[in-house]
Structures are given as C-alpha cells and as structure tokens.
Subunit: 357 residues, 4 copies
C-alpha cells in the first residue's frame, strides 16, 4: 500500500482535473465521422437543446452552447444589458474577482455588494438601489441593469428558493435582469440542502447557464433563456465575442450525453456524496470549516502540521492564511472522485508524512 | 451502389464537418483519468509546446493554446498592438468580413486594402503607408500598427516566400507587427505550390497560429511568438478575452498528437491530394475555376444544371452568383476526405439527378 | 496696400480659424456671474433647447448639447445602436476616416460604401443590404444597424430631399437608424442648391446634430432626436463617453444666441455668399474644381505655379496631388470670412509672389 | 436689504456655478479674430504650455489641453496603461463613483481601496498589492497598472508631501503609474494645510492635470507628463476618445490667462479664504463638520431646522442623511465667491425663514 502513496498524488485542487465522463468520449468516438454543419447548427446540438428544454419544462426556452465560464459571463452580460449598463455582483463573485476584467473589457462596470459566505443579500441589494436612486447624482453613476449571482457560489454555498425569489423581486422592481452563473449548477442542485430544482432555476431568473466544464464535460456551458427571449442576433454576438465554436458538435454531443437518462444530475449527486464523505474526514478530526458548504467545495481550516502531512501526497488549494497561522484550504470533489481517493486522504491524514519531515 | 447514393449525402461545405482525427480521440480516452492542473498548466500542454518549438526550430518561442480562430485573432491583435492601434487586412480577410466585428469589439479599426485572390500586395501596402504618412491629417486617423494576413487565404491561395518577405520588410520599415492567421496553415504548407515551411513562417512574422480546428482537431489554435516575445501578462489577456480553456489538457493533448511523428503535415498533405483529385473532376469536364487554388478549398464555377445534378446528393457552399447566371461554389477537402467520396462526386456529376427533375 | 500683404496671412484652411461670433462673446460676458446649475441643467440650455424645438417645428424633440463632432458621432452611435451593431458610411465619411477610430473604440464596425463626391447612393445601399442578407453567412458578419451621412458632406456636397428620402426608406425597410452628421449643417442649408430646410432634416432622419463649432460657436453640437425618442439614460451615456460639459451654460448660451433671430442661418448664408465669390475668383481664371461644391468648402485644382503665388500670403489645405502634378486644394469660407479677404486673395493671385521667387 | 434676499438665491452647490474669470473673457474677445490653426496647434496653446512648463520648472514636460475631467481621466488612463490594465482608486474616487463607468467603457477595471476621508492609505495599498501577488490566482485577476488619486480629494482633503511620496514609492515598487486628478488642484495647493507646491506635484507623479473648469475657466484641464514621456501618439488617442477640441485656442487662451502673473494660484487662494470665512460661520454656531476640510468644499452637518432657514435663499448640496435625522451638506466656494455672499449666508442663518414657515 505505502508504495502506492509514493507514486500517486491525489488532487482535490479543483473540479476539472480530469477529462470527461466516459459516456461523452464514447459518443464523440461513435459520431466522429458523421458529417454535420458547423457553428452549432448540427443535429446533435439541436437534440441537446430539446433535451434541456424538456428537462426544465420550458418548450419555449432558447438554448445556446458556449465553451467556458468567463466567456459565457462576459458574452451574456454584454448581450443582455445596454452598453452603458452595470452589473451588480457579490464582491466574491467570479466576474468581480477572477475573470481578469473580462466584463469591463466589453465596457460594463461590476458594482459589488458585500458577500455573505459568497451570497448576495436581497435586502442589502434593495437598500443599495433605494439609496442609489435617492442620490440626485445617480445619472452620473454607472447604471445598474443586471444582478449576477452564482449558484452554487464561489464558496460552495447555495441560495434557497426564498432567497432567489426575493432577489428576483428586487430585479423586477428595479427593471434589472437576473442572471445566474451555473458553472457548478449540478453540484448545487444535487446538494441535500437545495430546495430548488432545475425547473425552479429556470422560473426564477431571466437567463442562466448549466455548467458542463466542471460537471463531466471537456468544456461547454449551456446558456438558457427560459422565456425564449434571447437577445436579438445573439448568434452574431456570440461570434463577436469569439465564443462561437466552429465544431459546435463537440458541445452538442456533450450536452446530449449529459442530459440523456439524467446523467448530469446523477454524476452531480455522486460528487456531493463524495464531498460529504470528505467533510466527514475533517469533521471526525475536529477540523473546523471556514464555511459550512453543502456542495462539492469544502473549506477546512488546517494547521501547518496538518498541511505538512499531505505534502507531496495530496493536492488542494490554499485560499487564505489566517492571523493565527492556520490556513483556509479548499478541497473539491467532482463527478469522477472515487471513494477510494477519499479513503486514501483519510489514511494520509492519519500518518506522519516522511516527505515533509 | 446506387442505393448508397440515396442514403448518403456527401458534404464538401467546409473543413470541419467531422470530429477529430482518431489518434486524438484515442489519446483523449487514454489520458482521461490522469489528474492534471487546469488552464494550460498541464504536462500535455507543456509537451505539445515543446514539440511545436522543436518543429519550428525555435527553442525560444512562446506558445499558447486558444480554442478558436476568431477568438485567437481578436485576442492576439488586442494583446500585441496598443489600444488605439489599427490592423491592416485584405478586404477579404477573415477579420474584415466574417468575425462579426470581433476586432472592433476590443476597440481596433480594421483598415482594408484590395484583395488579389485573397492576398494583400506588399507594394500596395507600402504605397498605402506612404500616402498615409504624407497626409498631414494622419494623426486624426486610426494608427496602423499591424498587418494581418491569412495563410492560406480565405480564397485558398498562398503567399510565396518572396511575398511574405516583402510584407515583412514593409512592416519593419513602418514599425508594424506582422501577424499570420494560420487557421488552415497545414493545408497551405502541404500545397505543392508552397515554397515555405513551418520554420519559414516562424522566421517571417512576429506572431502566427497553427490552426487545429480545421486540420484534424476538435478545436484549438496554437499561437506562436517565434522570438519568445509574447506580450507581458498574455495569460491574463487570454483570460480577459474569455479565451482561456479551463481544461487546457483538451488543447494540449490534441496538439501533442498532431505534432507527434509529423501527423499535422501528413494529414494536411492528404487533404491536398484529395483537393487535386477534386480539381481534376471539374477540370476534366471543362468546368472553370473562379480562383486557381493550390490548397484544400476549390472554387468551381457551376451552371444551374450542374448544381442541380448534385441537389440532395452532395453539399457545398455557394459563394456568389455571376451576372451570367452561373455560380461560384466552394468545395473543401480536409484531413478526413476519402478518395471514395471524390469518386462518388465524380459519379454524381455524370448522371442526371432524379431528385432535381 | 502692399505692406499689408506682407504683414497679414489670410487663412482659408478651415472653418474654425477664428473664435466665436461676437454676439456669443457678448452674451457670455453679460451672463457671466449669473449662478446656474451645471451639466446642462441651466436655464440658458433650457431656453436654447426650446428655440431649437421651435425652429424645427417639433415640440416633442429631445435636444442635447455636446462639445465636438467626433465626440458627438461616437456617443450618438454607441447610444442608438446595440453594442454589436455596425454603422454604414460613405468611405469618405468623417467617422470612417478622420476620427482616429473613435467609433471602433466603443466597439462598432464602420462598414463603408463607395463615395460619390462624398455622398452615399441609396441604390447602392439597398443593393449592399440585399446582398448582405442573401449571404447565408450574414450572422457571422457585423450587423448593420445604422446609416451615417454628413450634410453637407466632407466634400462640400449636399443631398437633395429626394436622396434623403430614399436613404430614409432603405433604413426603414432594413430596420436601421438614420443619423445625419450636421457639423456644417448651416452651410448646407444655406446653399442655393439646397432643397431642404432644417424642418425637413428633422423629418427625414432619426437623429441629427446642428454643428456649432464650425458655424460661429467656440464649440458645441446640438444633438436632436426629432421624435423625442432619445435613448434611455442618454445623460448617463453622454457622461460615460466623457462628453458631458460641467459648465453646460457655455453650450446653452451659444446655441441660445445662434437660434435667436435666425442668427445661425444668417451667418451660414454669409459664408455661402463668400464661397460663391471665392469660386468666382478661380472660375474667372479658368481654374477647374475637383468637385463642384455648392457650400463653404471649395476644391480648386491648382498648378504648382498658382500655389507658389500664394506662398506666405494665404493659407489653404492640400488634399491630394494629381498624377499630372497639379494639386487638389481646399479653401474654406466661414461665418466670419470678409469680402475684403476674398478680394485680397484675388489680388494675390494676380501678382507674382516675391516670396516664392 | 430684505428685498434683495427675496430676489437673489445664492448658490454654494458647486465650484462651477458661474462662467469664467473676467480676464479670460477679455482675452477671448481680444483675440477673437486672430486666425490660428485648430486642434491645439495654435500659438496661444503653445504659449500656455510654455507657461505651465515654466511654472512647474520642467522644461521637458509634455502638456496637453482637454475639455473636462471625466474625459481627461478616461483618456489618460486608457493611454498610459495597457488595455488589460486596471487602475486602483479610493472607493470615493471620482472615477470609481461619478463617471458613469467611463473608465470601464475603454475596458479598464477600477479596483477600489477603502477611503479615509477621501484619501487612499499607502500602507493599505502596499498591503493590497502584497496580498495580490501572493495569491497564486493573480494572473486570473485584472492586473493593477496604475494608482489614481485626486488632489484635493472629493471630500476636500489633501495629501501631505510625505503621503504622496509613500504612494509614489509603492507605485515604483510595483511598476505602476501614479496619476493625480487635479480637477480642483488650485484649491488644494492654496490650502494653508498644503505642504506641496505645483513643482512638488510634478515631481511626485507620472502624470497629473491642472483643473481649469472648477478654477476660473469655462472649461479645460491641462494634462502634464512632467518627464516628457507622454504616450506615443497621444494626440491620436485624444482624438479617438472624442476629447480633441477643434478650436483648441479656447483652451490655450484660458490657460495662458490663468498662468500669467500667477492668476491661477491667486484666485485659488481667494476661494480658500472664502472657505475659511464660510467655515467660521458654521463653527461660530457650534455646527459640526462631517470632514475637517482645508479646501474649498465644506461639509457642515445641519439639522432640518437649519436647512429650512436657508430654503429658497441659499443653495447647497445634500450629501447624506444621518441616522439621527441631520444632514451632511456640502457648501463650495470658488474663485468668484464674494465676501458679501458669505455675509449674506451668515445673515440668513440668523433669521427665521418666512419661506419655510
């Protein structure tokens, strides 16, 4: 057994350390020589769109496939709001922090509100907007036209149905669009804490996307306008943003696979089971969590010694150093985490690591 | 035999009608569960970069993998020239016509010069610049900082080494960057008319890319700065443009495959052989060509009757209707065109099509 | 007399060589210490807007004051069309040539059509659009959402009412906005060739502006949406584009002055009279014109010898050198050109210039 | 006397309620018919630049005249840093709050740090940058390339020489540009609390501007690159941003006037004297201040009753309502505030206002 630990480095750094779900690779291989048109006008993409529309119970929905998350965020935001419009996000939101200013590149300011474990508070949002419009100088400020949240958030937390409804109500009252970044949507929906379904998500926002990259695909995000009101010329906008994949089949085939026989939710649930198991390993040792995450990202607070025990054996991310010298870390599970990997981590934490001696 | 023609519709519409070269799919499957970091920092990508550097004989080169052509064009242009800079292209250039204004989206004007069968003339370029700087009002005009060409061009033609050298000289004289869009680079290099190699391309420009999407990959373009002078923070710029693939392995593995044992050029040569064979079919019938293309795109001028003969049997693109009622069409071969498909086309052109009767 | 010619250099280089109409300076001085709010919310601006609405006979019109032409063009275009939209202009149009890519800076492609003495042909525009939408690849191209013309054009020519109506009809048929750049509007309307009034202009387009900078003001352009349908939050858009003048009174007072007692048209007519007189000087000597301009810009074709005669005595612009060695030049008159200046030019052309000997 | 108060409403709402210093209007009138080239290439502008270079003791400095503050901020930022660059500002900074997202319009993120009475703390800036570069994910974030401060700040406060030096040191250590927005520069330099001169400002930053609009001009901001290292093609960039005034003489003449015989500082000192007098009126009544401002903006905290006393008599801005029901207000003095106006305000605060009864 020990030899194995020397050879293998298990990685929990993110939810895209591996390739794709085998069913996807199989279907790619099987369909490889079928000739289809490019740019998403292929039959695979059409079928994938139909499957998504059926799953969310919205036959009128418009569905588009883009390649990655940052690209999808900046394309959707630029398409949905006017060029002078600003978007409001939690200050921990992906668009506010980790997209190298992609939203600003197309001219839009990201206005930030305080994050509460990754979430935006609807009351604070309303209060911000009240204050905004009370200020006589508001026409001199960037105009808020959209609210952006991620589900689950960058901290693994999820919004309840009530919270989403409140955010939606504020958006309606202030004539703003409500956009949900679902890069990890499956992991949010599969959480035992979730009280919303994919149908609910579709009913509660103006536009959202179903993340493929982090949930079993090689790449791909499915943008959904539930009411079928995609911006005019959205195809052109996607192209303009460099987000139109020539071989759209690659995206169509993947989402076709993920939305056949409930695969998307099935593998999401698996990731959550693995996350619960992972959580148990830390909890059983009395290791506290920075955030009580109900999804596939876990944030245990480790001591230097505990981290050393994993040195050279297991990979994870360090998020922050606390004033007391401990570290906030992030461990991710995914659709392809195996129970055995969690067990190995458990074993590693039990022994002193010779590598760090 | 005849039954087959009823079932199968052969497509020559573009060079991305199929998936990927089987060797790519195999390697994707084989490496699927190997855990690697994201964002192109994986070992596959590192290896692919090494292979490309070796192939072009430039150990100092910087190599980056992006997903698609339009994305690569707009990201590279925005990264290499200042925000106020303009780029000069032939008026048939991809960035000038078929990218929905992606270059303009990041603020850059595309200045167009007349196309000569898809190519820019170095003499005309020099003349344009002379006139530009002679005009006292030039500081009121968009400032030309880059020349963009595609090799091969959108019309299938290729530049000779002498022509590329002349363009390079003009760029040097006017302190402009020289950028070669190689979305179909393999098909250009494999052309019997080509007098340049991949090494020459690397020596003759400031930045170019090796197209994967159209030459055997599912997606992917390899951007090369031959002298290793990639713009500072180019990684951040790629991310900002929504062009950073989370699972960079998908690109690394593909280019690793394409640049192992000369596969890229081998499959490119095959496409060219098929194109020659295709050309023969038209030539043998006395069908003229709109452009004498030495690469994988062929532009026969067909009569309505000749087009009808293929109705429902073979797909191709219509580029333009001529005043005399005939049509300029485009037939593409690719890495996976089979000789049999060409033969079938030959057969189809020999018989009257009952479908169009 | 001769001594005077040594001392004075008369300039015909442009229509903004001097300051402002004295009535403007007087009113600025008289109102100088009246305290008013900033940002165009002052009573002078309100009054100026009222005067413009009355002059065009459109009480419902929205009027905004911006500072300069390029700024106005890029702000209006970005405000009126979606971020992905392109604007069609003659290839000699100001936005296409002499604005350093300002329109592209906010993301919009400028599509150019051939210029006919500075004008766009409605038939060619329609034909371009027909071809555009016939091309199956149009969603991959920048989407035309606006037509931009200048009245008078950069070559001094003007559109007839019939021509404007035809352009408007094409815009309506293809759901595009029709925008008229009136940087020299007064000089167009005052031309004897003009068959349109300011009211007609207002009726024939979606948005236009009345140029102040070139017609008697220190600066300032009055943007008019005749139907009162200014883009939502246009004030914010103006600010976002850096085009909101803090002391809006400066613009309000100037347009108030120009639109009191018909001053704007009166001084425009004076410039045209001077232009006719100027034209006569060249015509009487058999000097041909590059373009037969009915407005304040004249384009005589001069020999080297004729140009030498003016060396050091009179200033004008050189537009182009003809293959036969002669030069296309531009002489502008303006609201403040004096008959005596024209007479001096006449005299200068009669004598051999010792300065160039 | 009483009648006068009924007629006149004194405004302290901002420092641009009036026109221009009379010396400016006089010089505009006197030079009105002198013919000069446009676009800032006139002799007045040349002379104004010389005067500014002399005043700051930097013969090598590059000077440019733009029209307004927001325009200057967005043009300078976009010119000086690369397109992917972000700018760091205090969260109360003008570019962060009151420019409608103008900086983002040209693609740049504004990163905010906490404001301390309008000022950025050099220690916090350094700490932010240390943390930024310690985070392994920084290449995924917008890259900080500039620090922006205003002098005086939006809250009337000013930086000491030591504070500016520290900010400069951080910028140098992290290879960032240091940009000072001097929209109210004169009022900062004239403050008795100031320990810097205009020469010091020039020595302590990479680029700054001398505000004209708020300090006696009709419009105009003088951008100074003290070391003469203006961005290449800055003229073109100004034009591209719609910030090039055709009749540049308007700016040249104004700055020529302001920098002749020390007028700029003289009128700034007057404004500060008036501000001290204004401060005294509030202080003598025991009215507290929200911020202890040493410049021309004063922020007394008034009760509803105190505000009512001024209703219909004196204008000022309301900045915020405090939880206890009182209001933070802003009263500005300027180059043209008269002692009598302050006395009137004093009188108004002494009597019960019949208008608000």
């Amino acid at each position: 057994m020990k030899i194995k630990y020397i050879c293998v480095m298990i990685s929990f750094t993110c939810d895209y350390n591996e390739g794709a779900h085998p069913a996807i690779l199989e279907r790619l291989a099987k369909t490889n020589f079928i000739q289809v048109p490019g740019y998403g006008e292929d039959s695979f993409s059409e079928d994938a769109k139909r499957l998504i529309r059926e799953t969310i119970g919205r036959p009128e929905a418009s569905v588009f496939f883009l390649v990655g998350g940052t690209q999808t965020n900046s394309t959707v935001i630029d398409a949905v709001i006017p060029h002078y419009g600003a978007v409001i996000a939690a200050d921990t939101g992906h668009i506010a922090v980790h997209e190298s200013g992609a939203v600003e590149l197309s001219g839009h300011k990201v206005i930030t509100l305080p994050s509460h474990n990754g979430k935006m508070d609807a009351g604070e949002l309303r209060s911000y907007l009240e204050t905004f419009y009370e200020d006589a100088a508001w026409p001199h400020m960037a105009h808020p036209d959209m609210v952006y949240i991620s589900f689950p958030t960058e901290y693994g937390t999820i919004y309840s149905k009530a919270e989403l409804s409140e955010l939606k109500a504020v958006c309606r009252d202030y004539r703003m669009k409500f956009f949900i970044d679902g890069a990890r949507l499956g992991y949010g929906l599969a959480s035992p804490q979730a009280d919303v379904t994919l149908k609910d998500i579709a009913n509660l926002c103006d536009v959202f996307y179903i993340g493929g990259t982090k949930v079993g695909a090689l790449c791909g995000e499915a943008v959904v306008f539930p009411s079928g009101d995609a911006p005019e010329h959205f195809f052109t906008i996607i192209k303009q943003h460099g987000a139109l994949l020539a071989k759209g089949r690659l995206l169509g085939i993947q989402f076709q696979t993920l939305f056949t026989d409930g695969l998307y939710l099935e593998i999401s649930r698996h990731a959550i089971e693995m996350a619960q198991r992972l959580k148990g390993i830390f909890a059983s040792r009395g290791i506290p969590f920075y955030i009580d995450s109900p999804t596939n990202q876990q944030f245990p607070i480790l001591t230097k010694e505990q981290m050393d025990a994993l040195e050279g054996k297991a990979l994870f991310e360090i998020w922050a150093k606390l004033p007391d010298g401990r570290y906030v870390t992030r461990f991710c599970t995914s659709w392809c985490t195996e129970a055995q990997q969690i067990d190995e981590l458990d074993f590693l934490m039990s022994v002193r690591n010779p590598a760090s001696a």
